[in-house]
């Protein structure tokens, strides 16, 4: 094969992999038409998505879990592999809390890898496990890694994105990279880039004031394949697992007295 032929082959491969409409790509719909339109139908499986948020809050993990719940529904026999630092100052995933929002902790496998480079390597290993290779497939629904701090080294960050992208394509598994940072980080190698922060829930009435039946986030979808962006507030209903678009709500400055709810577990 001469140089010209090889170049043509490469061009065809790139076209087939990235631009061809013939290749049916599965996507996880978020059930919000504006976002799904931006994403050409939803979060593409077999791609790497970046989710970041600032400060100490559960917003990034909460939004990631909202996506994972949809993925788990799409792939009911698949498992979630979460590569993280179990001794992180941001806390450890809590099984009772996961179960309450509809995530089965038994379908969650944690890989403890504090070092981000080794963590990304672990994610590649996990994705490698999901490849068919003529053997019985290991069912992995999604792989999550808490290693967005790699963005500080731009060269490494781009390499990481490309390597993960390649592994995700081979395994046909949704990959999410999480990060706690308030900065806008380069997301050229990623399929989508979400910036998540907490938002105050709108309480319509006292009877609706249940603390833990929903969560609200301010979402900024700043990178998509279509080039379209989206910014707005999302609300996640735990009981149904549905995401819905909510108008921006300004929190009341007055302090609300605690509602009359007293539970006791005294043995």
């Amino acid at each position: 094969m001469n140089k010209q032929q090889r170049f043509e082959t490469l061009k065809n491969e790139i076209w087939q992999n990235y631009f061809s409409t013939n290749k049916a790509q599965k996507a996880i719909s978020l059930d919000i038409s504006e976002i799904d339109d931006c994403l050409n139908g939803g979060l593409t499986i077999g791609r790497v998505h970046l989710i970041t948020g600032s400060g100490y809050s559960g917003a990034v993990r909460g939004f990631t879990l909202a996506i994972l719940r949809k993925v788990m529904r799409e792939r009911p026999s698949g498992y979630i592999v979460w590569c993280t630092n179990l001794n992180s100052s941001h806390g450890i995933l809590y099984g009772a809390g996961l179960a309450a929002i509809g995530i089965d902790p038994r379908r969650l496998i944690l890989v403890d890898e504090p070092h981000p480079l080794r963590g990304v390597a672990a994610m590649e290993e996990v994705l490698g496990a999901a490849r068919q290779d003529g053997e019985a497939a290991i069912q992995i629904a999604a792989v999550v890694g808490d290693y967005a701090q790699l963005y500080r080294n731009s060269d490494l960050w781009h390499k990481t994105a490309r390597r993960l992208q390649f592994a995700a394509e081979q395994a046909d598994v949704l990959v999410i990279i999480n990060g706690i940072t308030s900065r806008i980080i380069p997301a050229a190698g990623f399929e989508s880039y979400w910036q998540v922060s907490t938002a105050v829930r709108q309480i319509l009435s006292e009877s609706n004031n249940r603390f833990y039946d929903s969560a609200s986030w301010h979402i900024k979808l700043s990178r998509t394949r279509s080039g379209r962006h989206w910014t707005g507030n999302l609300s996640w209903q735990f009981s149904t697992g549905t995401l819905s678009h909510r108008p921006v709500f300004n929190s009341k400055t007055s302090y609300r007295l605690p509602t009359n709810q007293f539970v006791s577990h005294i043995s």
Binding site: D104, R106, A122, Y255, Q261
Partner: protein, 544 residues
């Protein structure tokens, strides 16, 4: 077995349960510790540390009485399994001296039949000294005795005070490998309990005024049998060597091995990969032929410079699936540095269990889904045993104790061996029961991320028993927009003596807080104001 040729060593670990409890709990050896067992629903002390004994705690005393005498004493139930496991490990370790070793878990000892093996260590005295040195090195109290019979060795080890006073640090081995007459003479001062007879017979002998062994020599066997049964006479014969005594030795579990030799050194990743595949196929054939399953595979190679490289694969459940083992060992070729080549390789299958055919019609759930096991085995093989974890729920009201992060293979083994009970915390929210579950969820709301340990925060509350109106943590001020609670969780007071480091003895009031910027926090106030306790606030988790 002739008398003159036999040589037995008995090693008695007289304070083993106390030491094991101290090691397990991290207590100092001079702590007051008492070990109890349950007799007819009563907690009776069976072992006690020297400190506890000096304080007045006696063996066969009830725990309630002992607590009254020494309230600071630590009490632990007798852990039979831990004792057996430890003795088995020591018994296996002792194979370096003789192939015939066994454990005597009831008497907290191990025995070694060193007949014909003492010349390897320049005699039995040198062997006993070597054993003593090894036990002193790891700070284990042991009384060693050597004798021509098992019964005599047992007796000398357990009643060494008739020869020398045992000390905690160093006990001198007792070696009585002499003529029959001398052995008989050495046994004479020992009490009748040295004959390993039951308590009933001991009581009967005491009532008859027979308290030492020498008093029994003069009585005919017929008289003893008529009065006390055959057991006493048999034990008398065994201790002196007239009656042979068989002990059950530890059995060495033989691993299945398949090996290959190579005429020319094996080089190259492809060749190593093929070698591993061949070895795996060979071991799978052997396992299938013997109807066995394995949980542990060792693949070893010997390089031309005689260096041996070992790689291990552990499985979460027993298997002999060739495709699974091929998958788990696929990466090993890249891990092995062959340098100038491999001349010999072998594979061992350990932790074997019977692979009996199971009729799935009886229990269709048994092999319903093993893809998770395969995934965990694969990840463990690639990333390491301590890297792959799962969350396991624990039946506890204390939030930090309600979950354990443990190696995933261990979780699977527990699932395969225990029937899991349904626990209230991990009941998944079913969409079909939405209306009912919302109440349940709002009452038992738990965060997605739990901070362990909880972090101390500065708080401003309008009233002492009110939820916070402002929280300051890590140079960040959170104005609270709304708060819900409290959920009161009492301390595990029954664990205070045992897990004092892990559990606070104060009651907690948990609040769900939402800040003005939308963060949802789980905080608790530790201590009750109405009881006059000091109050501190802790941040324990974040909600979605």
């Amino acid at each position: 077995m002739s008398f003159s040729n036999s040589e037995f060593i008995y090693i008695w670990f007289y304070d083993l349960p106390v030491r094991l409890a101290c090691y397990q709990k991290g207590w100092q050896l001079d702590t007051a510790v008492a070990i109890y067992h349950i007799v007819n629903t009563r907690h009776i002390i069976c072992y006690a540390s020297n400190t506890a004994k000096q304080a007045g705690i006696l063996i066969d005393m009830s725990v309630a009485d002992a607590q009254a005498i020494l309230p600071t004493c630590h009490f632990r139930s007798y852990d039979d399994i831990a004792v057996k496991n430890w003795l088995s490990r020591v018994g296996q370790w002792a194979w370096r001296y003789t192939p015939l070793t066994g454990i005597d878990s009831e008497s907290l000892g191990i025995w070694m039949n060193v007949t014909g093996a003492t010349h390897l260590t320049s005699g039995i005295a040198a062997m006993c000294d070597a054993l003593q040195t090894e036990f002193n090195r790891i700070s284990v109290s042991a009384q060693i005795a050597a004798a021509p019979t098992y019964g005599a060795a047992w007796a000398f080890a357990h009643f060494s005070e008739f020869f020398t006073r045992p000390t905690l640090q160093q006990n001198k081995p007792i070696i009585v490998c002499d003529e029959r007459a001398i052995l008989r003479q050495k046994l004479e001062p020992l009490p009748v309990a040295a004959l390993r007879i039951s308590a009933d017979i001991q009581t009967g002998l005491k009532q008859a005024g027979l308290e030492q062994i020498y008093q029994l020599w003069g009585i005919s066997a017929i008289s003893l049998t008529t009065r006390f049964g055959t057991d006493l006479v048999q034990r008398l014969g065994q201790i002196i060597g007239d009656v042979s005594e068989l002990q059950k030795p530890l059995i060495i579990p033989t691993p299945l091995i398949a090996s290959r030799n190579y005429l020319t050194p094996l080089l190259g990743v492809e060749a190593i990969q093929k070698m591993i595949r061949d070895l795996v196929s060979l071991i799978c054939i052997q396992l299938a032929q013997r109807h066995l399953l394995t949980r542990y595979i060792v693949i070893a190679v010997k390089r031309v410079d005689s260096t041996i490289i070992r790689r291990t694969i552990s499985l979460s459940r027993p298997s002999r699936s060739e495709s699974l083992l091929h998958r788990l060992t696929a990466h090993l070729a890249a891990d092995i540095d062959v340098e100038f080549g491999i001349e010999h390789s072998w594979i061992e299958a350990k932790k074997l269990s019977a692979g009996l055919p199971v009729n799935q019609a009886f229990d269709p759930t048994l092999y319903k889904d093993d893809s998770k096991d395969t995934l965990i085995d694969y990840l463990t093989a690639r990333l390491g045993h301590n890297k792959v974890h799962q969350l396991q729920c624990i039946d506890s009201w204390q939030p930090e104790s309600a979950q354990r992060v443990q190696p995933a293979q261990q979780t699977i083994r527990q699932l395969h061996t225990h029937v899991s009970n349904s626990l209230p915390y991990w009941q998944l929210q079913d969409e079909s029961e939405t209306s009912d579950n919302i109440n349940l969820v709002s009452f038992s709301a738990r965060p997605l991320s739990l901070l362990t340990p909880a972090v101390l925060v500065d708080v401003i509350a309008l009233l002492p028993d009110h939820p916070p109106s402002m929280i300051r943590w890590r140079k960040q001020n959170w104005q609270i927009h709304q708060a819900t609670g409290p959920e009161r969780i009492g301390p595990s007071w029954w664990l205070n003596g045992i897990l004092s480091n892990q559990h606070s003895d104060k009651t907690r009031d948990y609040y769900w807080l939402e800040t003005q910027s939308g963060e949802r926090l789980w905080v608790y106030r530790e201590g009750l104001i109405e009881r006059g306790e000091s109050v501190e606030w802790f941040l324990h988790g974040f909600f979605a």
